[in-house]
Amino acid sequence: MSLDIWMRENPLTYVWIGSYAVAFLVFAVEIVMVKHKRKITLQQVRLMHDVEQVEQE
C-alpha cells in the first residue's frame, strides 16, 4: 500500500528505476555474459590448438 502511494508521488523515479534501470541492467548482464563466453571459448580453442602443435612436434 505504501508502494502505491510512493509511486504516485514519484512517477518518474518509479518509471526510471522500475523499468529503465532494470532493462539496462539486463542488457549489461547480457553483454558481460557474451564477453565471458568469448573469453572462455577462445581459451578452449587455444588450448586445443596448442595440444595439436605439441603432438605434431
Partner: protein, 250 residues
Amino acid sequence: MAINWFKYSAPTTFYGLAGKLVPWFAVASAALFAVGLYIGFAVAPMDATQGEFYRIIFIHVPASILSMFLYLIMAGYAALGLIFNTRLSAMMASAMAPTGALFAFISLWTGALWGKPMWGAWWVWDARMTSELILLFLYLGFIALHSSIDDPRRADRAAALLAIVGSVNVPIIYFSVKWWNTLHQGSTIKFSGTSMHIAMQQAMFTMLAACWLYAIAVTLARVRSIILEREKQTKWVSELPEVAQGEGKQ
C-alpha cells in the same frame, strides 16, 4: 558485379564479417538509446490520462516488438537449417534465443510495472499477457532443449522443430487484443498508422531502432563464439590470429 551471397553464409567468412560489424552496431545502438531517452523524457509531453507513467511505453513496446520479431527470425533460421542443412543458420538461431528471451522478459517486467499504477494490477491472465509469457517459455524451452542434446546436429534439429511449432504463438500475441476481450489495450502501432502524439512516436521509434541495433550487435558477438566452438577442430580456426596468439604462452 554479382556478390556471392553464399560466401557469407559460410561460417569461415561470416566469422570475420560479424567481427567487423559488431562495434558499429554497438556504437550506433548506444547513440540511439541516448537520443531516444532524451526525446522520451525531455521532449515528449505528458499523457492526458496517464501522466508520466505512460513513459514506460518507450521501452515496453520496443521490447515486445523485438521479442516477437526475434522469435520469427529465429524460427526462420532454424527452418533454413532443417531444410538446407546449412551450418550457419542453426548457429544463428541458437545465438538469437537468449536475446529474444531477455526482450520477452523486459516486455513482461515493464508491462507489470505499467499495469500496477494504471490498471490496478501487476498481472492479469488475459490473452495478451498469457501469450507473451508463453513466448518467454518457448525461448527458454528452445535453449534448454538445445543444451540437453550433446550431438550439435541433432540438437539443432530438435530445437528447430520446437522453434517452428512455437512460431504459431506470435500471431496469437499480436491479434489477441482483437480476437478476445482483454484488459490490455489495442495496438498503438497498427497497419494503418499510429494513434500517438508526434514526439512520443519519435521517442518510441528511436528506442525501437536502438533495440534492433543492440539485438543485432549482441547476436553477432554471440554467434562468433558459437562458430569458434563448433568449428574448433578445423584448420581455419587454428589459423586465426587470435587463436595462434596462444602459441608460446605456456
